[in-house]
């Protein structure tokens, strides 16, 4: 059922596009430019993924070992904001720092260093992708580290294990178990990244396949070409995740106790200094572009208009619906995965991400035209498609803890005849609470920042915050746009903080 809900729309949309175009256009794949773009996308997505995973793991370890310092929750929530900011806001924030007239470049110039133009190209793309993905990787790794049964650390302390031994035997297996799925997700996100890659890439060769699909669909309304390229992108997404899902299995778990998690390596001095350095460096990399949005505060009063308030309400309603549907589907799929279809569900969750939303809407419209007017579905369709886009994140967050819950207590629950509500409440909920909230908050935040699907539908009585932002930018209102960007970031921050506070002491 969940597999159908997710897989079918992608399939139908691809078929619809191919129908509209009278078939596929294999010649599109042979074009030199398309091949160059695939090579470049693969390289930049690979590098972006490695950076996000390595730095994300270091940050997660530092946050796990420094489990209580003032402002920890605020810092995590602030960093999480970076993951879901709309692309155009990311571009402007990165440029505000590293651009020709940016803060860093300006400071360097004042100190006598003339750097020239270095941002546009691979550096800009990698910086933006690191900015967007390090926090997400760190969040997921942190969840994994915090699931370590407290006894393990008590034992490690009792045995006098060195910090390295603790890392080797306790942390590393957990990080490793998350890495394959996370790597696939981040790789795919960078592979399909659009506005960011185009703006900071500096040239059409530093582009992605998604640009070519967008062009085929709108610039020329060449649906055969669009369908072919979209099919290729979905195939890449699917293939990638199948390989990774096949290569990995969740780690065997035993039940934890209700002791508080006190890490044995929390007081080693060199490690302390290292962690502080990691925290400061990552915070200095990720926080300033977000804080640069505060310049919008000067114009925040421009937001108090009926249109803005309506846009805010629409966005919040969509975000709530998306959070709800995405979490629900992700949970249903995770249930399917523990029933033994991990590879299928893992692959599906990512295949939807590889399908460009605008191609999805166009394809669905054409395929379902004889049955129903998809465009007239409006809000439910937008929620559904936004939920599909948020699905890989939500699925990534929910799948592992659910599997662990069932490893720990599944057989006992089965022998007790627990099903449905009781199983959720006693077996799954304790481990699933935090990831569910995080997934809902993340899905809501992603939907808040979404522009893709809304754009295709639009309508004067249907304006969301990102659409407002684009209209302001399109009408030269840079000041008002900066206020809207700030509002978006604040909302996302509040969502993330809310999810953290709500689940602050959930690991039992």
């Amino acid at each position: 059922m969940a597999a159908l809900a997710v897989g079918l729309p992608v399939l139908v949309a691809l078929m619809g596009l191919a129908m509209a175009g009278g078939g596929l256009d294999p010649a599109a794949l042979k074009q030199a430019h398309v091949q160059r773009v695939i090579v470049f996308s693969t390289v930049q997505a690979f590098l972006s993924t490695v950076i996000a995973l390595v730095v994300g793991a270091a940050l997660a370890l530092a946050l796990a070992r420094r489990a209580a310092f003032p402002g920890r929750a605020t810092l995590i929530a602030l960093l999480s904001t970076a993951t879901v900011l709309p692309g155009i806001v990311v571009v402007f924030s990165i440029v505000a720092l590293y651009g020709r007239s940016g803060f860093v470049t300006g400071t360097a110039r004042a100190l006598g260093f003339e750097w020239g133009s270095w941002l546009y190209g691979l550096p800009g793309i990698l910086i933006a992708h690191a900015f967007q993905n390090i926090p997400f990787a760190a969040r997921l790794y942190l969840h994994a580290l915090e699931r370590t049964p407290p006894e393990h650390h008590r034992l490690a302390a009792g045995l006098g294990m060195t910090p390295f031994a603790i890392f080797r035997h306790l942390d590393w297996p957990r990080l490793k178990a998350e890495t394959a799925g996370l790597a696939a997700l981040i790789f795919l996100l960078c592979f399909i990244s659009f506005a960011v890659v185009l703006a900071l890439g500096g040239g059409p060769n530093r582009a992605t396949l998604e640009v070519a699909i967008y062009d085929a669909l709108r610039g020329e309304a060449d649906f055969a070409r669009a369908a072919t390229l979209a099919l290729l992108q979905v195939a890449i997404g699917l293939g990638l995740t199948l390989i990774l899902a096949w290569r990995t299995a969740p780690i065997a778990e035993e039940a934890g106790s209700r002791y508080a998690l006190l890490r044995a390596d929390r007081s080693a001095l060199p490690l302390r200094l290292w962690d502080i350095a990691v925290l400061i460096i990552t915070a200095l990399f990720i926080a300033p572009p977000i804080l640069s949005l505060l310049s919008g505060a000067f114009f925040i009063t421009t937001l108090v208009t009926p249109d803005m308030i309506r846009a805010l309400m629409t966005s919040l309603a969509l975000a709530t619906g998306t959070a709800f549907v995405a979490t629900l589907i992700a949970y249903a799929m995770a249930r399917g995965a523990i029933a033994g279809r991990r590879v299928l569900y893992g692959g599906l969750a990512y295949a939807t991400l590889a399908m460009p939303p605008f191609a999805m809407v166009a394809g669905l419209y054409f395929a379902l035209r004889p049955l129903a007017n998809v465009m007239a579905l409006g809000i439910p369709l937008i929620i559904f498609i936004n939920a599909l886009m948020a699905l890989p994140f939500a699925y990534r967050l929910i799948e592992t803890p659910l599997a662990i819950a069932h490893q720990r207590h599944g057989r006992l629950a089965q022998s007790l005849g627990m099903t449905g509500r009781d199983r959720l409440r006693f077996v799954e909920w304790p481990l699933l609470r935090r990831p569910l909230f995080t997934a809902a908050a993340l899905a809501a935040a992603l939907s808040l920042g979404d522009f893709g699907v809304i754009a295709f539908f639009g309508g004067s009585d249907f304006v969301t915050l990102p659409l407002m932002l684009y209209q302001q930018l399109g009408a030269y209102r840079m000041d008002e746009a900066s206020a809207t960007a700030l509002l978006l970031a604040l909302l996302v921050f509040v969502f993330a903080l809310g999810a953290l506070k709500e689940t602050g002491h959930a690991h039992s």
Partner: protein, 355 residues
């Protein structure tokens, strides 16, 4: 809000897990509830559906004032259906074909005109082209211009003292100003600039692109990214319209932003509207086209869309337009030629700008 949001999730998370059918039922109910909540307006007056782009109907566009003005005189309801830009508008029309709900389509541009006509969706408009105030002849029988503008590079005169005086100077001065332009595949002005280069340089356009390439900071997805990067100081000049300074004059009271006049002439961007063949409101749709060319509509273009009106209103142009540059020559590649050459030109551009 977060509290409420968490509460909803908490309360609703439980029953979903009972079984899969239960789960499905909830999804359906939720979808239905949202669907029903959408307003269903009672229609007794005739309704005219206009497909357009969202910056026209949005808060900062002229759409809402135009809707009121037209409804006041037509005894009808005007409904907009807004896509994100001309490209999406065209894609949607092509997808819908004969089953489109559009009576009027407003917001296609000249570079899309031949492809739009090839769909066979548009009916002749019957407007006499001689009554239009365009810088060049427009004779398309189905699509009528409603506004237009010249593409131009905008600069800040307090920062750039000697802007290039021609496209050739821009292209051929090795240490000239850095520019930011839009990607011709994703943006209308970006496509316009590619055609401008093709019109001026002909077969030599790829070489010209190669020469210009080192000074192009980046190609952005749309106009907004490019203009934003320019205002943030990332480039000395940005591809926009000669009318852009009018915004800074009229709204921000800033006079330092100027368009650089180019000796070869400037490429023209023309925005078009047309009545569909399948409309059931033919008479009303034609009245809208007539209204579109009247002063009530046209007077909203200069400071609503920041484009020149297609038929100058009796009151003339606003004061903010007084000092704008007046290009000596207008350039436009005929729509049929755009249709035939677009793909080849884009491919040549891709090869030339690859590095």
């Amino acid at each position: 809000m977060v509290k409420l949001f968490n509460h909803v999730i908490l309360r609703t998370a439980w029953p979903f897990t009972r079984s899969r059918t239960m789960l499905m039922r909830f999804v359906l109910t939720a979808a239905l509830a949202i669907g029903i909540a959408a307003p269903v307006a009672a229609q007794d007056k005739p309704a005219l559906t206009v497909y357009t782009y969202s910056s026209f109907t949005g808060k900062y566009g002229p759409g809402q004032a135009i809707k009121q003005a037209f409804e006041a005189q037509c005894d009808c309801t005007l409904n907009y259906m807004a896509m994100d830009d001309a490209g999406s508008l065209f894609a949607r029309l092509k997808l819908e074909g004969e089953s489109t709900k559009a009576d009027v389509v407003l917001g296609l541009d000249a570079n899309l005109a031949a492809e739009a006509n090839a769909t066979g969706l548009f009916a002749p408009h019957g407007v006499d082209p001689k009554t239009l105030s365009l810088p060049l002849a427009w004779t398309d029988p189905t699509l009528v211009p409603f506004d237009w503008g010249y593409l131009a590079f905008i600069y800040d005169e307090t920062k750039l003292k000697n802007p290039p005086k021609s496209l050739k100077e821009l292209v051929e001065t090795a240490n000239g100003p850095k520019i930011v332009v839009q990607d011709p595949r994703t943006s209308a002005p970006g496509l316009g600039f590619m055609l401008w280069m093709a019109s001026v340089y002909g077969d030599k356009a790829p070489d010209a692109w190669k020469q210009l390439r080192p000074r192009i900071v980046t190609f952005t997805k749309g106009w907004s990214e490019a203009y934003g990067l320019f205002l943030k100081g990332e480039a000395d000049m940005v591809l926009s319209y000669t009318t852009s300074p009018a915004y800074h004059i009229a709204v921000e009271k800033k006079n330092q932003y100027k368009a650089a006049p180019f000796a070869e002439g400037h490429y023209v961007h023309i925005e078009l509207a047309g009545v569909t063949k399948v409309t059931k409101q033919k008479e009303l749709a034609n009245r809208f086209i007539a209204f579109m060319l009247s002063d009530a509509f046209q007077s909203k273009m200069p400071e609503g869309n920041f484009m020149y009106p297609a038929r100058t209103p009796a009151a003339g142009l606003p004061a903010s337009y007084a000092d704008l540059i007046k290009p000596s020559k207008a350039i436009l590649m005929p729509p049929a030629e755009v249709r035939d050459r677009r793909r080849a030109l884009v491919d040549a551009w891709l090869d030339a700008t690859a590095r």
